[in-house]
Point group: C2
Chain length 420, copies 2
């Protein structure tokens, strides 16, 4: 019967979060900012305890033989903890979107109408390895007046639990009730799945992690979901592309940080450009250790290219591998992106403005680039401040999501007896 | 194997709609407006054929013994068809939200960023009896540059099919491809359920109808849903409520159009006010044929009141029935609304500004009223023009949804070789 008790706890936590959200919605921006600064200081004060807890997770990770990149995402250092604190101080400086009157008008009968921005209520955050999400997401939620229910990955359970413990300690000296930050300490699937259907208590679920986590949430949740992150991004080099721009953008989009969602995964090249510049292209691949998986045309011209199949077009490599396809025109490139893209970031390299305009108009994605790297799809790079994730959906928020994505609106009508 | 063939057709229709949406996204506002006017004229020209088709539905309805209100919603007249046409002409006059540049800025490296409003793509409309939805929803979808897949109720199948046939005829003389309007002629459940999971081809589902239809879509769809319409609306008469305002708003909110979603379903009354004004209140109920279902306090004071149970607090009556609860303060009223409300429209009647402010701040609903009737939650009444429905969800759109709810945004980045 352990599962039943566990489930009940999760629901009770969500109910507590909802109650706390009401209190939180009444606080001023100053009170919320002060709380963020107090949490930031406390995280720095308690960094040693956090590193100790993190060491337990790292030990388990070493025993389980996790790969180096995964261990790196999991590992905390004094600097990283201090970075979390600085992140909160940055969020304190951001404009508070709640309370903004987005529009106001008066009907002929004298009824006054205001459209006001308000917090969503309770945010459910379901995420994988990185413990920084625990702090970042909490900071953004609290700043926008929302409670948060945190469900992190089991591999970071000790780190996350300790971080939340420290944040709760800090909240005791603030106006924010500590029930506004809930941590699901159970590592079983049932706890996560329970969050999927708590429409009464949770206003939105935000999954952050790999494609399988995100799909599990999207396919099973009845709570509305903000879908983030999977980026099967394409770079299309057109017939009229400038060689230097094309190659430098290719290298940047593929190799700058291959494991992030705005990295390029597929290169589509116009046949004429490909044939004209094949030597420079192959040289670029070789110099940057890029592993080519090509279509038939590509493998017939580049001897060491591996053959690409459906899974190469469909999936993110998140490595120095790249799928390469040759096309006869921009329409074929757009069709390929329509079929395999994840509506994240797509780029065209061309000196022809009409071709670029067509690509930007017809490709369905959050972020379209003409003669620039896909790597700019990022809240920081675009100047939004901290982001809660990059939305690949079309409703509510698209692209990098800042604080306004964590709000909704209310219509407030004031009258003196108006009837219809 | 009929089901399999049916299913394939529905998917093919959705794919056609998606292709048409690309063409539609390239049209100018003028081209879309012209098409709406051509459809409007054609509906008027062909009204006799539409009425003949409607007669077939009415015949089936009479055989099945549908109730009068239902038959009234189903029935078309020349005037009603001409109203559909006028509705399209109104939509043609609305501002086209697509193409708007919502913001633009340039990064330090010279990369130019534009946030542009664009159509969603393909809208799936799942609705019940009223054939006017077929025209209204199509008009709003096309004006905002979207294709639409229409799945109406089986009781209006002949009317809807004929209306779409007429709209298709009209579209032949416009720039809008007729594939932009798809009509699912199958009346089986499988056809509807297939729409629930077509994430590749359909960008949003909008259910319009009763609670069970809406819940079926919300609980089973993986395509994002815009939830509309269920309104379990409350009117709270505070201790300091003005008697005349309270009673006239009560009568309006309950009896003006009891079957619509913004009608009041529960009356919450402060005990002091209730005891002081019970005679006027009972008189108002009696004069307006309002049937009272009350809590224990109410039934002990109003002899002919029926006892109210959970289902009375939970459900919409959509009739002249009303549930009545007596409370000791505004907090109890807010708690009751939190528990049973559907986040649609909630009203407080009071002369105390602080009490009103507390209610408006703490009640979680799309539309909050101070000293006015809940009946104003309506796109037309609030001055938004035609609406596609009233959203009771918090993400993407809340309250009456006009054309902007049928759009999303794209970030367009133009550079000259920028890398990160």
């Amino acid at each position: 019967m352990a599962t039943v008790i566990e489930n009940t706890n999760v629901e009770l936590q969500a109910i507590e979060a909802k109650k706390a959200a009401k209190k939180l919605s009444l606080l001023t921006t100053e009170e919320k900012n002060e709380a963020l600064l107090i949490i930031a200081n406390k995280l720095e004060e308690e960094y040693k305890g956090i590193l100790q807890a993190n060491e337990k997770d790292l030990e388990v990770g070493r025993e389980k033989g996790y790969e180096a990149a995964y261990m790196d995402r999991l590992a905390l250092t004094k600097d990283r903890v201090f970075d979390f604190a600085d992140g909160l101080r940055q969020v304190a400086k951001l404009e508070d979107p709640t309370g903004d009157i987005l529009s106001e008008w008066t009907l002929e009968n004298g009824l006054k109408v205001e459209k006001v921005r308000v917090p969503l209520g309770v945010i459910g955050m379901i995420y994988e390895a990185r413990p920084n999400v625990t702090v970042d997401a909490t900071g953004l939620a609290l700043k926008s007046g929302n409670s948060i229910v945190l469900k992190g990955g089991s591999s970071a359970i000790n780190s996350n639990r300790k971080i939340v413990e420290v944040m709760h300690l800090a909240l005791e000296n603030t106006k924010i009730p500590k029930e506004a930050v809930q941590f699901i300490s159970s590592t079983n699937r049932e706890a996560t799945e329970q969050l999927f259907t708590m429409k009464e208590h949770i206003d939105v679920l935000i999954p952050r992690g790999g494609g399988s986590l995100i799909n599990a949430v999207v396919n099973n949740a009845t709570v509305p979901v903000l879908e983030t992150g999977v980026g099967n991004c394409h770079l299309y080099i057109d017939k009229e592309a400038d060689v230097e721009k094309a190659l430098s953008i290719l290298v940047n989009a593929k190799t700058d940080r291959p494991a992030v969602c705005n990295a390029a995964e597929t290169l589509i090249v116009h046949q004429e450009w490909f044939e004209q510049h094949i030597d420079r292209l192959v040289e670029t691949f070789n110099q940057n250790n890029i592993v080519v998986h090509g279509d038939q045309f590509v493998t017939s011209r580049i001897p060491n290219a591996l053959p690409a199949g459906e899974e190469d077009w469909e999936n993110e490599y998140l490595s120095l591998d790249i799928a390469v396809k040759v096309v006869g025109n921009v329409d074929e490139a757009i069709d390929h992106i329509d079929r395999y893209g994840t509506k994240h970031s797509e780029a065209i390299i061309t000196e022809n403005r009409d071709t670029a305009a067509k690509f930007m108009k017809l490709v369905d994605a959050s972020s379209l680039y003409h003669n620039a790297s896909t790597r700019f799809t990022d809240g920081g790079a675009l100047g939004f401040g901290a982001e809660i994730g990059i939305s690949t959906q079309k409703l509510h928020a698209r692209g990098p999501m800042g604080l306004p994505a964590l709000t909704t609106v209310k219509f407030l009508m004031s009258g003196n007896g108006q009837i219809r």
